[in-house]
Amino acid sequence: MTDKLDNGPKQSPQESERQVYVARVRSNRRISPVWIVPIAALFIGAWTLVQSYISQGPQLRVQFSTAEGLVAGETKVKTLDVEIGVVERVELADDFTSITALIRLDPKAAELLTEDAQFWVVRPQIGSQGISGLSTILSGSYIQLSPGDGKTGARSFRGLDVVPVTAPSTPGLPLQLIADSAGSVNVGSPILYNGYRVGRIEEISLDTDNGQTRYSAFIDAPYDDLVTTTTRFWNASGVSVSVDVGGFDLRTESLEALLTGGVAFGVPEGYSRGQPVQDMQPFLLYDDIGDLTENPHVNATEYVLMFQSSIRGLSEGAPVDYRGLRVGTVLSVGSQPWESLWRSGSADNSATSAVANALPVVVHLEPGWLGDDTLAASQGFSAALNQAVEDGLRASLAIGNLLTGSLYVSLDFHDDATPDSIARVDGELHMPTVASGLEELEEKVAGFLSKLQQLPIEDTLNNASSALAEAKGTLTDSRSTLAALTTILESPGTNDLPDSLVATLSDARSVLQSFGGEASLQGELVETLRQLKQVLSDADSVLQTYEKQPNAFVFPIRQTTDPVPEAGVSGESQ
């Protein structure tokens, strides 16, 4: 036995120790060599286990709403299209409302498990954003891992039900857009700046408190610098068509916005560029560019106007003017609890009942209309307005359009206004109002109608009817007369009348020619006139004779001897 040990091959130190140990077995503490095998196996197994444990990656739990497309042992986990893990097991959650996928990642991918890492299942999808995940039709769905920037070490995640539009690590500016209605803007809708896509809508949610729609938007870098405090967003979806005297005006931001909806932004004309904004800065999303043009201002002070007269014709969005200069917008008209609507019915005639009888109109006074849309301007504007109200500034309703009957709110000074000031009632600022000229106009119209009613219109109409009947009779007679005249004119005798006239004129010409200078008749007339003149001269002498001697007809005329001219003295003078 010893020889075998001595002549044997060279032994390792362990064997030598074993031999020493064996030697001690020989001293009755010897263990059978049979145990070498299990012990070695035990070591190997332990080593394998340790190596296996050390070499395997981290295991994590990701909760999804459904296990559609997830298969234990087959579904891969990828990032940047590189396999970094596999789904080991899929199990229901304890509350049975979701599932939990147990995922084993490669050890090298452990660094990707940050607190804000995102997981979602990539499946074939067809939607407004296009077709995606076609490759998974054959290869099967997989889980996409998008690492974040947070601390590493997280092992439990909530998987996304929808594919995120923007990767978490994408540089840019996240924003919030608030709109009164969802409109046609969807997740993934582009955000355009001058028609160029610079961002997208990532998420849509409904604010149940005030019924507004909130959009999570993202502006890619470096375009995020375009968004400032004076930036305004508006819905650029669809086509905007306007018709005016110049014709049709059709506008759309882009074909993509036309099909899928979109949001555009910019700085209104006349505004400065503004200051940079922080992440998740909320912005108002206007319905369209027209809505923005009408009311681009942000800083405003709300006032309540209580009107005693009818507010029919006053609508939301109507302007608030100060002597034709717009300073605000009507926010709401007559909104009040119905219980307070009839309070004046049982009230007395006191001033309190008059106030209770009034209908509230909420307006926004916006200094931005005057070119300064800042918070400081709004505060200064309110202070100045307080003083102006104390000096007699009052709100009243005025007619904006006589055809449509639309009204607007007019601010102006009234010298006869009772002293008053802006009061705060239940947290609202109430501005005093005065009756507009509408009531006076109504009274004038009523008075006019009353006078019109008192006019003897019926008698006048009866007289007019009689006159018309007489006129009709006269016309009938005239028609008969004309018919008779027509008959006369159309008679053969009338037709021959011109020929007769011609003949008569010819005869008249002949007669006149007999009176001409060469005719004897004229000479005879001249001679006759001469003789007549002579006779008159003789008669004059006779009359003179009988004037001097009235009895000359009976008695002889007393003749007086004419003086005889003497012979003249010689001598001619010329």
């Binding site: 001469r530 001269s537 005329i557 003749q559 003086p563 005889v564 001219p565 012979a567 003249g568 001619e572």
Partner: protein, 183 residues
């Protein structure tokens, strides 16, 4: 008795009327201004002129021959009268003097302001005349006034009429002197 008185009255009436008839009356004499023996002074046709309108003063528009008896007194003679209106007599006398035929190139218009005699034998004629026609040159004397006075050579109306005719002929000569072709 009454019948006898009526017979006397009738007889007296007849005697009165008869005595009236036998009263001697003065004979009225008529005179002609123009002279049938008057010869035209116009030498040729170009020197003649047609007499146009002849107007006379209203106091001459009567058949009585007017005689001035004082500074401002005129006496129309009852027994000495014109045989025709004076304008006709003047026209005829001027026509025979100027020899104007109906187709004469010139025409004379005459206005007689005064044409009468006086008890002291002085006869006066004042007239205005004007010429018009083809040969009348406006720059030359186309109009003028005539005033002349002649003593009648003897007493009586016949000498007065002769003197008035002589004055009218002097007027005719004055008018002819204004005709260019007669110079």
């Amino acid at each position: 008795m009454i019948v006898r008185n009526a017979s006397y009255l009738s007889l007296l009436l007849v005697l009165g009327l008869t005595s009236a008839c036998v009263t001697k009356t003065e004979t009225t004499r008529y005179y002609l201004l123009s002279d049938p023996a008057q010869v035209s002074l116009a030498g040729d046709r170009q020197c003649s002129a047609k007499v146009g309108a002849v107007s006379i003063a209203p106091y001459l528009q009567r058949t009585h021959i007017v005689l001035q008896s004082g500074a401002n007194e005129l006496i129309p003679a009852l027994q000495h009268r014109w045989s025709e209106p004076m304008d006709a007599g003047v026209t005829r006398l001027l026509s025979s003097c100027l020899g104007g035929a109906a187709d004469a190139p010139n025409r004379a218009t005459v206005s007689i302001d005064h044409l009468h005699g006086s008890t002291d034998g002085s006869v006066v004629l004042q007239a205005q005349w004007a010429l018009s026609g083809d040969t009348v040159v406006p720059e030359t004397q186309a109009s003028g006034s005539f005033s002349a006075s002649l003593p009648q050579p003897r007493a009586g109306y016949d000498a007065l009429v002769s003197t008035q005719r002589e004055l009218v002929l002097l007027l005719c000569a004055d008018i002819q002197a204004a005709l260019p072709s007669c110079r």
